[in-house]
């Protein structure tokens, strides 16, 4: 526990602090730049792009060793992985545009083939004698051991650029994600904007490779955006909320994994993000599951109450037990189903409101106002007192509900 608190406040050693800050920054960048691919329903392309980095890692290693350099130079490996990821992205785009294959087939093919080639390359490299190849396989699942200040700097610079570009291009990207036909009609180059959107994803994926690994990086790109969707109805706010969720998961995940021995950082980060997603799914106002349950419950109650009162007014017996209990609890009926005075008054009011709505519909045939009639919204919420008085004038004297 102490170790956790220490790690939380960056007191658990230089490496742990570096990893926590790096993971936090990476999480923020991933969350922010994953927002639009998620909204464009391109989450799986992000996964394919991440997998397509692997052959690049292998090839860059071979090339760098071949030129007599250090095969594990991070910038070199990132450049290599970016090249094959970009090729993979273009291939997916080309296959789904030029052939009859659907996009999901193109994604599956590219993901599998590139990943396969990458694994073969890594295996071949393992048998090479030159170039200190140990550690390359950590690009699969990520590793925090021996993270350097240089690595954190790469994440900080690359991540900031990705966030900045996402922010600058938020309008075209919103437009393309929401209504690409309209974007094209306005003269935006939809294909280029799509490529930029996925290019940002690719950039975040390659800088995050070493820390989180290429298999799980897609989770950092997409889960924060999915979770953020529960908290807002504006795409621009979603960028920042997703960034915040991603940053928090990155930081917390790194801290958690530092506070227990031999805990893998990447998977823990993803699990933290998933926990935030679950929390959002259940508890978010409006879009959360609990909020929906409450809304449904309230709706049910109002329907039962109103139907019960209308039945009283029409002097039909109420057979539904829930309705009876509801009305009895409010003191509108006696336990045997006979309406009380209060119940008769309420029933008369509900019936009258029904007839007021009829008149309202005749008067305001076109307006959005009568569109709000759902049988449950009180008429007083929609029309002003003098308007209701006018309906009453046309309706004539009020009816009474007898109860014997």
């Amino acid at each position: 526990m102490n170790l956790f608190v220490d790690a939380l406040f960056l007191q658990a050693g230089y490496n742990a602090a570096l990893v926590a800050i790096g993971a936090g920054l990476l999480g923020f960048a991933a969350g922010a730049s994953g927002t639009f691919p998620f909204l464009r329903k391109r989450a799986l392309i992000a996964d394919a792009v991440a997998h397509a980095t692997l052959p690049g890692v292998g090839l860059a290693f071979v090339v760098m060793v071949g030129f007599g350099g250090d095969g594990r130079n991070l910038v070199g490996l990132i450049a290599g992985s970016a090249v094959t990821a970009w090729i993979g992205l273009l291939l997916i785009e080309w296959i789904s545009r030029r052939t009859r294959l659907a996009e999901d087939a193109a994604i599956g093919a590219v993901l599998g083939v590139f990943f396969g080639v990458g694994i073969v390359l890594l295996t071949v490299i393992q048998t090479m004698s030159a170039g200190r190849q140990a550690g390359l396989e950590s690009f699969l699942l990520g590793s925090t051991a021996g993270m350097l200040f240089q690595d954190a700097t790469v994440i900080a610079i690359g991540g900031s650029l990705a966030v900045l570009l996402t922010w600058l291009m938020r309008r075209p990207m919103t437009l393309v994600a929401f209504d690409s036909d309209y974007a094209a009609a306005l003269g935006y180059d939809v294909r280029r904007i799509d490529l930029l959107m996925m290019g940002l994803v690719m950039a975040v994926a390659v800088i995050g490779l070493k820390l989180v690994g290429l298999i799980l990086i897609v989770a950092m790109l997409i889960i924060p955006a999915v979770a953020a969707r529960f908290w807002t109805d504006r795409s621009t706010s979603m960028i920042w909320i997703a960034g915040g969720i991603g940053g928090a998961s990155g930081y917390l995940g790194a801290v958690l994994s530092a506070s227990a021995p031999a805990m893998p950082t990447g998977p823990i980060i993803v699990l933290v993000a998933a926990a935030i997603f679950m929390f959002s799914l259940l508890l978010a106002p409006d879009r959360g599951v609990l909020a929906a349950l409450f809304r449904h419950r309230g709706f049910q109650t109002r329907v039962h109450r109103r139907q019960g009162l209308l039945a009283l007014a029409a002097r039909h017996p109420i057979r539904e037990a829930y309705t009876l209990r509801l009305l009895a609890r409010e003191g509108l009926v006696r336990p045997d189903g006979v309406p009380t005075d209060a119940g008769r008054a309420q029933a008369a009011k509900v019936t009258r409101d029904e007839r007021r709505w009829d008149v309202a519909r005749e008067i305001y045939q076109d307006a959005g106002l009568t569109g709000r009639y759902d049988g449950l919204t009180p008429i007083e919420d929609v029309f002003t007192a003098d308007e209701i008085a006018e309906f009453d004038r046309q309706l004539g004297p009020p009816v009474t509900v007898r109860g014997d």
């Binding site: 600058l168 994600a177 929401f178 309209y182 009609a185 959005g368």
Partner: protein, 221 residues
């Protein structure tokens, strides 16, 4: 006001999309107001079919209308208070001013169509291209939309709509373009929207009852 009329699969929507460059065209040049489509784009507003987008998208009614201003504002420009006022005015013209801050998924189908129309109005264009603006909307919305379109016409704007309800072509439009893969006929409604031309466009697919109905209108003229 012109209608593009033809049976399903005749290429009505495709014609609009190809003209706007949304889908690649095989051949031909598109000229609008005597200019190439590239140079005339700012003067064209497009209203896609409302079924074509995901209405659960996180954006509000006002945001969607402001999309019509994106080109004018540019990439880095701020959407000023004036833009907001302008967007509100456009919503008012389609009767949705009370819905500005709703998430778009909370609207009915007809209201969604009105939002798209408001977005096109915000562009302040000279040519309006609408893809089945009356598909799946209620009678009140149809009246509201046609009212807005007629006002546009009175303002000297050009309105071209893909339309599939043959019964209302005469009431709504001045000019008609009959198409079934190839062009069948084109001209003022009075001289072009005839039983013969409809037969040519629809062939056996036009229900006999429909033909008699239209023929009656023909005879009444």
């Amino acid at each position: 006001m012109s209608a593009i009329v033809g049976p399903n699969g005749a290429g009505k929507s495709t014609l609009l999309k190809a003209a706007l460059g949304i889908i690649p065209r095989l051949s031909g040049e598109v000229h609008v107001f005597g200019e190439t489509i590239r140079n005339a784009r700012a003067r064209i507003a497009y209203v896609p079919q409302s079924a074509s987008v995901d209405w659960d998208f996180p954006t509000t009614v006002l945001d969607v209308v402001q999309m019509g201003l994106y080109r004018k504002v540019g990439l880095l420009g701020r959407l000023s208070g004036q833009a907001r006022v302008q967007a509100h005015e456009c919503l008012e013209r389609v009767g949705l001013e009370d819905f500005a801050n709703r998430q778009i998924g909370q609207l009915s189908g007809g209201q969604q169509q009105r939002v798209f129309l408001a977005r096109a109005l915000a562009q302040d264009a000279d040519l309006f291209l609408l893809d089945e603006p009356f598909a799946g909307v209620d009678a009140a919305t149809e009246r509201a939309i046609i009212g807005v379109l007629k006002l546009l016409k009175d303002d000297g704007k050009t309105v071209v709509a893909v339309h599939h309800n043959l019964a209302t072509v005469r009431d709504y439009f001045d000019h008609v373009f009959l198409i079934n893969v190839r062009r069948i006929a084109e001209g003022p409604v009075e001289t072009t929207f005839t039983t013969d031309n409809l037969h040519a466009a629809y062939g056996g697919r036009l229900a006999a009852t429909h033909l008699t109905e239209l023929a009656v209108i023909d005879g009444a003229r």
